[in-house]
Amino acid sequence: MKTINKLFILSISLLSVFASCKKEKKEPVFDDKDLAPLSIEFDNIVGGKNLILNSETYTNAAGEDYKISLLEYYISNIKVRKADGTEYVVPQDNSYFLIKEGDEDHEEALVNVPEGDYTSLAFTVGIDSLRSTMDVSKRTGVLDPASPENDGLYWGWNSGYIFFKMEGTSSAAPVDGSGQHIFRYHIGGFGGYSSPTINNIKTITLDLTERGPALVRKDKKSNIHLMVDIDKVLSGATTVSIAANPSVMFSDYSVNIANNYATMFRHDHTENE
């Protein structure tokens, strides 16, 4: 009898704890007219180390040493999803970001989404074909070839954006005209306008459940912190040798590098403060 009583009291108190917990964490009603900020941080690393431009030396799977002097890539078309399947697509005009290593103003994508608990994040690495072929007046901000933010990530001769650009030095790279051992990877290709060609647009979907969903509230700051392992660019499904391919731009081989870098994103944690 006593035990039962004790259990009863315990259950009641536990229930009230749950209830209060639930009350505290109650998810707001989804309203796509009423938005709150969400940031997605792209933290570039190489293997287990932080990426440091110019000074740090890394080694790829082919056994070649390399230093990175420039790293830039486009992130676009951001989508978030809740556990119940409710999805929010950030309006396209506000969904283009350039991530630039070493530039504080370009290390995150800042968007607005309805309040809610999001367990999945999706984005594109590169620029979708629709925007790649839109009227020139729709190319603003990081998409404006005349904007300092764009930083030359555009091919004039073969209309299209460079999605991913990595340059650096390696003793494995042959000496170029300037007398330096430079490698250059400029990857793009949206599939072609009138004739089909390479399509290096990559869509990345990351599950946030395990490492912490994004709890987006108006009075809080939610930051999805991603680790971007640049080591994967040269050391993925394809082992890219700098000696064999010191310069890859608009060519069939670029598909291998794009497939490699599509695997470089992982969710590390989410800051909900």
Binding site: S147, G156, W157, S194
Partner: protein
């Protein structure tokens, strides 16, 4: 009396001076701005006028930009440097063009002509929108070697341009979109539709001579499948059998990465050939005789050679001397003097 005559004399002299001054600076004959008009013997244009309506102010701004070397890194090269109106907006006499610091490009400058009907630009068609076209020459190392960002900065700081953009687009803040649209407005107005051929097609009076008429018939039979009327190009990309150039230019392949597109180039128009020598994407032929001789005698067998140039196991296009002469007579009717001398397209 004396004073009076002095006064009269002075008055007369000053009147004369005023009159003379007036005469010295004659009023420019104002040509009314017609806007874009599709010639009655042309098809509907391909350009998206709905996002860039041509206005007098926009066209004139585009013309000023076209002829302004401010678009190049050291302000020495304008669009008009390599696209010369008297040469049908090509670089007459140059196989490949020289740009900034006399650097040489790899292709012959294409004509700025009837671009409103073009669905792609450049010899390899790498550019799909006329509005995006100027970015290529501006940023190419061998051409203007400039950045878009710097061009916009220079224009914004210029004493005239902000006001001209205000007039044309309602804002003195210069954007790359408005800059490119102004250039498009000028280029779209570079319409060649007043050759003898056009007059005949529009029943405006002139008639073909017997030789021209026969040449027209031969053209229809042997050339028109690629050089389609009335623009004299079907806008397709073909390997016309001239063989790989010295620089190994792969043409359309660079854009599509499709083996089937290797060494294919855009079919150029046959209009204004009198003004646009040399010919082919790399300007390798200086005369039309050499071009015809190429098609008759020197078409090179290659995997991507156009099927029209290898029929019944014969490479090339068989033509007799007489047929060649008649074709040349017909081609001569495609020269448009009005286009190459039209004052509204000239540098002001």
């Amino acid at each position: 009396m004396k004073i009076k005559s002095i006064i009269i004399f002075t008055l007369c002299v000053s009147m004369l001076i005023v009159a003379a001054c007036h005469k010295d600076a004659p009023e420019k004959v104002e040509i009314p701005f017609q806007g874009f008009e599709t010639p009655s013997n042309f098809p509907a244009p391909a350009y998206h006028f709905e996002t860039n309506e041509i206005t007098k102010a926009g066209f004139e701004l585009g013309r000023k930009l076209f002829y302004d070397p401010i678009l190049s890194r050291n302000n020495t090269i304008s669009c008009g440097s390599c696209h010369i109106q008297s040469a049908g907006f090509t670089h007459h006499g140059h196989d490949i063009s020289h740009g900034i610091d006399d650097r040489l490009g790899k292709r012959n400058a294409p004509a700025i002509m009837n671009l409103a009907w073009s669905k792609s630009f450049m010899a390899d068609g790498g550019i799909f929108d006329l509005d995006l076209q100027p970015i290529a020459p501006i940023t190419t190392f061998e051409e203007m070697d400039e950045t878009m960002q710097h061009v916009i900065e220079k224009l914004q700081q210029h004493k005239d341009y902000p006001a001209l953009f205000q007039n044309a687009f309602g804002s003195s803040t210069i954007t790359s979109a408005n800059f490119l649209k102004a250039l498009s407005q000028f280029m779209l107005m570079c319409i060649s539709s007043n050759s003898k051929y056009d007059s005949i097609m529009r029943n405006e009076g002139p008639a073909f001579t017997a030789a021209e008429q026969e040449g027209y018939s031969i053209y229809k039979q042997k050339c028109s499948q690629c050089h389609t009327e009335p623009l004299f190009s079907d806008n397709s990309f073909r390997n016309n059998g001239i063989g790989i150039g010295y620089n190994g230019d792969v043409g359309r392949y660079a854009v599509t990465l499709d083996e089937a597109d290797k060494y294919k180039f855009k079919v150029p128009s046959l209009r204004n050939l009198q003004y646009t020598s040399p010919y082919m994407h790399d300007g390798r032929f200086y005369t039309l005789d050499a071009v015809l001789d190429q098609y008759v005698n020197h078409v090179t067998a290659m995997p991507t050679l156009d099927s029209l140039l290898q029929q019944n196991n014969v490479y090339g296009i068989p033509l007799t001397m007489d047929e060649k002469t008649k074709i040349l007579a017909f081609l001569n009717t495609l020269n448009d003097k009005h286009f190459v001398t039209n004052p509204i397209l000239a540098e002001q």
